[in-house]
């Protein structure tokens, strides 16, 4: 059977930034740095912050749960290494700012190696019950690893009010520079398929679609081949989708594959859909089959300034500085260190920021890569050209919202549906006047949250 690797399915809007994936696309997943100390953030997910389960000076084992919460929407955190709790301190979080973290000092400095899982290609999920899978996912602290970090248990657990029919596995990776999901699809194929089967069992979905952008034909072929070898995969289909940013946004992926819109302000289960990232389903397989908590992840370290860009299997809690150093440091004068990719990633100032469960990449950009206009941040007047409206995948009026926020007219911003913005950055990317539309919208959302008392001042 010839495998179709070209995809026409897409959504309206979006942009085509240069992929820049060639830096790391051929780099196999390698073991990460040996860490002296890790800082495990107590909030690495959407939902309640964990309360620490260990005390200063206490000994911890690798895989030991060190923070948990009783809240439904939350996920526990675990120690990736054997060691001693050095302190309970504050560490920089890319989004949340200074947040509580458990700092663990390693007993011995051992290199971080990939465990050699020996999953059978013909994995049989029938010996696990749905409840078992959900509980294992919860205990392993699995959250959406594509970036949002929503606790996976909450997503896959059957909900009688919102029955799930379709499970979409997200292998798009539309963000420029990042290749970690691509490498996972190539190298951890069996885990992904096992995890997919487990997620299907847990959620009760009948149809499974794996969406992969058509700039990754190799991944589409490898995944297809693995599916054919595996039993009971008739209902699992690989769907090549058009290469376009933000194809990997869950609402955009649903739109592309199913031609359906998730209601504004709603979530995919409202239309019977669950979307899981490929790295997340791989983690589900590890958690259920090997009872292994989520303590490591694959991180792409990239950018032209990095000496040895590549994909590394990294302990969660490793600091960005350690990771960059492990990759040979930077060879050129760099302008920005970004947690994530250049479109949605967050530029950090504190290189001690630890890697979290949702960190897919560290991108170091030089002035040349950022471009002069963006580097100098010289904004000119809006000429109302409407490009931001054209590219908005959520069909919002970005310039109106941004200017409303700029003039402190939050009610106007709300009347243009500011909260429907998913902050993909397409509007800022195309703006000829170089206006930071996404930045204004994010600021407006924070102002609104403060106004409503949902956020501290």
């Amino acid at each position: 059977m010839r495998i179709v690797t070209k995809g026409r399915l897409s959504f309206r809007g979006g942009v085509h930034p240069p992929g820049s994936k060639e830096l790391t696309v051929g780099s196999e997943i390698q073991g990460g740095p040996a860490v002296k100390q890790v800082a495990i953030m107590l909030s690495q997910h959407i939902g309640a912050v964990c309360r620490p389960l260990v005390e200063k000076g206490g000994a911890v084992q690798a895989g030991q749960k060190i923070g948990d919460s009783d809240a439904f929407v939350s996920a526990p955190v675990h120690s990736p290494i054997n060691g001693k709790v050095k302190e309970m301190g504050l560490r920089s979080h890319a989004v949340l700012g200074r947040s509580p973290a458990v700092v663990i000092e390693a007993e011995t400095e051992a290199a971080t190696k990939q465990p050699s899982w020996e999953l059978n290609g013909d994995f049989d999920e029938s010996k696990y019950s749905s409840e078992q899978i959900c509980e294992a996912v919860r205990q392993a602290g699995i959250v959406g690893m594509g970036g949002a970090g929503f606790p996976t248990r909450v997503k896959i657990e059957p909900n009688p009010r919102l029955p799930k029919e379709t499970l979409i596995i997200n292998g798009c990776e539309c963000e420029p520079y990042i290749t970690c999901d691509y490498r996972i699809m190539l190298e951890w194929t069996k885990q992904i398929i096992a995890g997919t089967k487990l997620a299907r069992k847990a959620s009760g979905c009948s149809r499974i679609l794996i969406g992969i952008e058509d700039n990754k034909p190799e991944a589409i072929e490898v995944m297809n081949a693995a599916l054919q070898q595996s039993a009971n995969t008739d209902a699992i289909k690989i769907v090549p989708v058009k290469t376009k940013y933000p194809q990997g946004g869950e609402r955009q992926l649903i739109k592309a594959i199913l031609k359906r819109d998730v209601p504004t302000g709603g979530i995919p289960p409202m239309i019977g859909v669950v979307v899981l990232n490929v790295a997340t389903v791989a983690a589900i397989a590890e958690a259920v089959v090997y009872d292994s908590p989520l303590t490591h992840r694959v991180v792409t370290v990239t950018g032209e300034a990095i000496a040895n860009p590549g994909n590394y299997y990294v302990s969660i809690g490793t600091s960005v500085a350690d990771l960059i150093e492990f990759c040979g440091g930077v060879t050129k004068k760099s302008a920005k260190v970004i947690v994530g990719g250049p479109m949605m990633g967050i530029a950090i100032a504190d290189l001690a920021t630890p890697i979290t469960k949702t960190t897919g990449a560290i991108t170091v950009l030089t002035k040349e890569q950022i471009g002069r206009a963006k580097f100098e941040r010289r904004q000119t007047a809006c000429i109302r050209c409407g490009r931001c409206l054209e590219v908005c995948p959520e069909y919002l009026n970005a310039t109106k919202i941004a200017h409303a926020v700029k003039n402190n007219l939050l009610d106007v911003a709300e009347s243009y549906y500011i909260s429907a913005c998913m902050e993909c950055g397409c509007c800022s990317y195309v703006c000829p006047a170089n206006i930071e539309l996404t930045g204004y919208i994010k600021t407006g959302k924070i102002f609104l949250a403060r106004q409503k008392g949902e956020m501290p001042q």
Binding site: P17, G266, K336, P342, A347, Y416, S428, P432, N434, T438
Partner: protein, 354 residues
């Protein structure tokens, strides 16, 4: 190496696009029309276009100084004043005196644009503001037409069949108005007046000449071909959307077709309406001015249809032969309202009230 890292909001890369590159695209799109102006009106074009451009740019610079901008030359780099100057020049009669062109350009930039805070703040299309000012102040100068240099003007006096007459004496739209007036007179005096069918036929016979640009008219408005080439360039470059030009031309065509079907003697053919006067320049370059046009697609349709309809109302019913300028200015005035009424609905529909 990592000592001078910066933080700023995402995204950290951007498309290599600037206001300047957008304006340069528009200038490139105007090149065929300028070339046609140069071909048909020779020295007039060579004088008028640079005059308008230079005085527009100089006015913007002076306004920047008056406004105490820290860098008075900076905003000139976006070339928006150049675009305004060119469009104004192209919409002026070729024989307009240089001093009048300078007055118009100064008014364009100073009152049309800079008093609103410069580029992006103006409500009305600056070039049309300047043209309206000139039309109001110097009506005679603004309606004196010149023979295109490619026509042998000595022949016109002896030509018997009005064909050459049509090319030299007035614009096709003036003839069209003549036909309409003739028809009205005929109904008034019971059919004793001259034959309106003969008059409108003069225009209808000139369709090809009008498309090429070999007729009397404003500097850059006569050649439909050149304007369409420029317009298609802008469409291909995605500098403009097809919505506004298409809506303008479509609604004008429909109105012209209705009038033509009612009385094909008194009214000229719809295609003649589209290729005459400022219709094409307006559809591709003036109505599409992003600053003064609506943002949403639905808004663009309403705006375009409005421009086309008002133009045709003025041409067919009104007193003036040409109405593009007033149509654009009127629709500019309602653009904020259109934008407010035509809000985009998010992809997932309007959020349900909780």
């Amino acid at each position: 190496m990592l000592s001078e890292i910066r933080v700023s909001c995402a995204p950290h890369i951007s498309k290599p696009l600037s206001t300047r590159s957008v304006m340069i695209d528009v200038i490139i799109g105007l090149v065929p029309a300028m070339a046609a102006a140069g071909y048909y009106f020779r020295i007039y074009a060579l004088i008028l276009i640079p005059t308008c451009v230079i005085s527009s740019v100089a006015t913007e610079w002076l306004c920047n100084i008056i406004r105490k901008k820290p860098n008075s030359l900076e905003s000139l780099g976006d070339f928006s004043a150049v675009v305004t100057g060119i469009i104004l020049a192209l919409s002026l009669p070729p024989s307009l005196p240089v001093w009048a062109a300078i007055v118009g350009s100064v008014f364009c930039i100073a009152i049309g644009k800079m008093v609103f805070g410069g580029l992006g703040g103006n409500i009305f299309n600056p070039a049309m503001v300047g043209r309206a000012f000139l039309a109001a102040c110097f009506g005679m100068l603004m309606t004196s037409w010149t023979v295109p240099a490619t026509i042998d003007s000595t022949m016109s006096k002896i030509a018997a069949d009005n064909k050459i007459d049509a090319r030299t004496q007035a614009t096709p739209l003036a003839w069209s108005k003549e036909a309409i007036k003739a028809r009205r007179q005929k109904t008034d005096d019971g059919g004793q007046s001259r034959d309106e069918g003969r008059v409108s036929r003069v225009v209808n016979d000139q369709l090809w000449a009008m498309f090429k640009g070999e007729v009397g008219g404003c500097l850059g408005e006569t050649s439909g071909l050149a304007l369409i080439i420029g317009g298609v360039y802008l469409l291909i470059r995605r500098t403009i959307n097809f919505h506004i030009p298409f809506a303008v031309l479509l609604s004008a065509f429909i109105f012209a077709a209705i009038s033509y079907l009612i009385n094909s003697d008194a009214y000229i053919r719809p295609l003649a309406h589209l290729s005459s006067g400022g219709m094409l320049l307006c559809a591709f370059f003036i109505a599409t001015d992003p600053v003064t046009a609506p943002l949403t697609r639905r808004g663009m349709w309403i705006f375009g249809i409005g421009v086309g309809a008002i133009t045709m109302l003025i041409r067919i019913i009104g007193e003036y032969p040409e109405g593009v300028m007033y149509a654009v200015l009127l629709m500019n005035a309602v653009t904020p309202l259109i934008d407010r009424l035509c809000k985009r609905i998010p992809a997932g529909g309007k959020p349900s009230i909780k």
